[in-house]
């Protein structure tokens, strides 16, 4: 207030002093605040580095979070040692696996959802980690797409378009030279698909909507379908995941070889309802089926016979040589229930 007052008074009093008269001076409505100091004037202009409100708030929260995590860590370490003591183990060599087993033993839970069962994990895994500061001390963000709200996602889209434009430019130069794209070099992604939404979210550390994920998918397809997309191979491979069919993941058992040199596999303890049996499949076979050293007529019921013969049909249809099957079935009930057969790859 004194500053305002001085600004108002100074010109009028100076004028008055200069002219030695009472003069009415017009005051302007807006008055600029003047800074006064007793120190000598600095020779070079100085820049004030303001710590913005944003940064201050972030620093406060980060400090709080760090203190909280430290406290949780201390508690976790002490808890781990107590647990080791309880279980009679060495607390220094008590690993995470040991912790899991101990918790499972001490707190047996019949809950169906495994994630709902009691667990003890380091606090970094339990509490959501905060994103590192997205802006510097003056409040200026680091990422050029910060104001979109989803910088990592939109940066990814920006990169895809970069690759598309590069492919177009390369195609233009090739056309000018009259060279056609080499079909052998073209990418083949027949057994692959783009990574699913959850994995993409985990990679970007951002939540994206379904529409955004669809856009990502179609844009990647767009890039992949270009004739010179093989030049962006590394980029494309980072965002694809193999389509795993059950066939490829299934580990077939290795066949053994008998005296005649014919391969065979025996699966023990096959079960269905109360029936237990062992099944042997030989290849190359004759298509003969033996059940308990008897013909298929061992089964009095047609249903059981059909089950076996249909399995034979299925296997035969898959271009495996006709096989011979041996079965030892011990029925516990009147109904003889046959078990399913296993493939011979």
């Amino acid at each position: 207030m004194l500053r305002h007052l001085n600004a108002l008074v100074e010109p009028s009093v100076k004028y008055f002093q200069a002219n030695n008269q009472w003069v009415s001076v017009l005051f302007t409505a807006r008055v600029e605040a003047k800074t006064f100091s007793t120190s000598p004037q600095k020779p070079e202009p100085q820049l004030k580095k303001n710590v913005s409100k944003a940064m201050k708030a972030y620093l406060e929260r980060a400090k709080e979070h760090d203190e909280f995590m430290k406290q949780q860590n201390v508690e976790f370490q002490i808890g781990k040692r107590h647990l080791a003591n309880m279980m009679g183990e060495n607390p220094d060599t008590f690993s995470q696996e040991d912790i899991d087993n101990a918790i499972q033993y001490l707190f047996p839970s019949g809950l169906f959802e495994k994630k709902a069962r009691p667990f003890m994990r380091p606090p970094e895994e339990v509490f959501p980690q905060r994103k590192a500061a997205e802006f510097d001390e003056t409040g200026r963000p680091y990422h050029f797409l910060f104001y979109t709200g989803k910088p990592n996602y939109y940066k990814l889209m920006h990169d895809i378009v970069d690759h598309i434009n590069e492919a177009y430019k390369f195609e233009d130069t090739m056309i000018r030279k009259g060279i056609k794209p080499d079909p052998n070099l073209a990418l083949d992604m027949s057994g692959f698909q783009w990574i699913d939404k959850e994995s993409l979210e985990a990679e970007l550390v951002e939540t994206i909507g379904d529409k955004d994920y669809e856009t990502f998918s179609t844009t990647m397809d767009r890039l992949y379908k270009l004739p010179y997309s093989y030049r962006s191979k590394d980029f494309l491979f980072k965002y694809r995941k193999p389509l795993m069919s059950h066939e490829k993941t299934y580990q077939a058992p290795k066949p053994q070889y008998d005296a005649d040199g014919r391969a065979f596999i025996t699966t023990y303890e096959c079960l269905r309802k109360r029936a237990r049996g062992h099944v042997t499949i030989r290849s190359p076979g004759t298509g003969k089926v033996t059940v308990n050293n008897q013909d298929l007529t061992y089964f009095a019921e047609v249903q059981s016979r059909e089950q076996v013969s249909e399995t034979v049909l299925i296997i035969n249809n898959r271009d495996v040589y006709p096989f011979m099957e041996e079965l030892i079935a011990r029925p516990f009930s009147k109904k003889y229930d046959i078990l399913k057969k296993y493939n011979m790859c």
């Binding site: 008055f16 944003a54 708030a57 963000p141």
Partner: protein
């Protein structure tokens, strides 16, 4: 006499001794940025382009007569075969003013946010922002980014100091919400306004073509040059 009595009525009576002491204090430290602000063209942005460059980049082409916004009439030279033609002398004047503002904001380490909604030129604008160390928003505008920033970003955020619209409309040819929101938050706006746009809410409108890739390339080049000049001058003036 009248003035002093006015004073005493407004602020109460003040002892003359105290008045005298304040008047003999040292002068105020000069504002380091005042020299730059007093200069009419501190960064020489006037030589970044000529009217011929604007003509070659097809900046003078507006849309058709039917879609002319009446508020754009002051900037229009006329129409030819149904197409609006902008007065490039006026455009040059407005563009130089806008470039000067951008350079000054960059000189003061301000945050500049580029806007363009339109798939054809979005990538170029984002790349320009990256190259000059500023920011871009060429995507779907989430409602509260300026007006509800704390909730949107989860923390107190510093908002841009200048918004540059290379196209002041959005995908459905309505004015971009950010023009209104920037005005609400007191953020200065520079905007390229075509013949179907509303120039009223923009602080520094630049009448011209906003659709041709050539024109957008020119604007990107010019604003990038102006911003980089501002930053260079800042480094030179304050880090010597």
């Amino acid at each position: 006499m009248r003035s002093l009595s006015l004073l005493s009525r407004k602020w109460g009576s003040i002892s003359t001794a105290r008045l005298n002491s304040t008047l003999t204090e040292a002068q105020a430290t000069p504002d380091p940025h005042k020299a730059a602000l007093a200069h009419p063209d501190y960064f020489s942005v006037h030589n970044l382009f000529t009217v011929k460059d604007l003509f070659d980049a097809r900046v003078h082409y507006g849309h058709r007569d039917g879609s002319l916004d009446e508020r754009m009439l002051p900037y229009v030279y006329g129409s030819r075969l149904g197409h609006i033609i902008f007065d490039l002398d006026k455009t040059a004047e407005y563009l130089r003013r806008a470039l000067n503002v951008a350079a000054h904001v960059a000189y003061r380490d301000g945050i500049i946010l580029f806007f363009l909604r339109g798939a054809q030129n979005s990538h170029l604008v984002e790349k320009t922002a990256q190259e000059c160390g500023e920011f871009a928003h060429t995507r779907f505008w989430r409602g509260g980014i300026f007006t509800n920033a704390t909730k949107q970003f989860g923390a107190v955020t510093r908002l841009p100091d200048l918004c540059i619209f290379f196209n002041s409309q959005n995908n459905v040819l309505l004015q971009h919400t950010a023009v209104k929101d920037a005005a609400k938050m007191g953020i200065a706006t520079v905007g390229v306004v075509d013949s179907n746009c509303n120039p009223n809410l923009l602080t520094y409108p630049v009448p011209g073509n906003d659709d041709s890739p050539a024109a957008v390339e020119l604007y990107c080049r010019l604003f990038k040059a102006a911003i980089l000049r501002g930053k260079e001058r800042r480094k030179a003036d304050f880090n010597e």
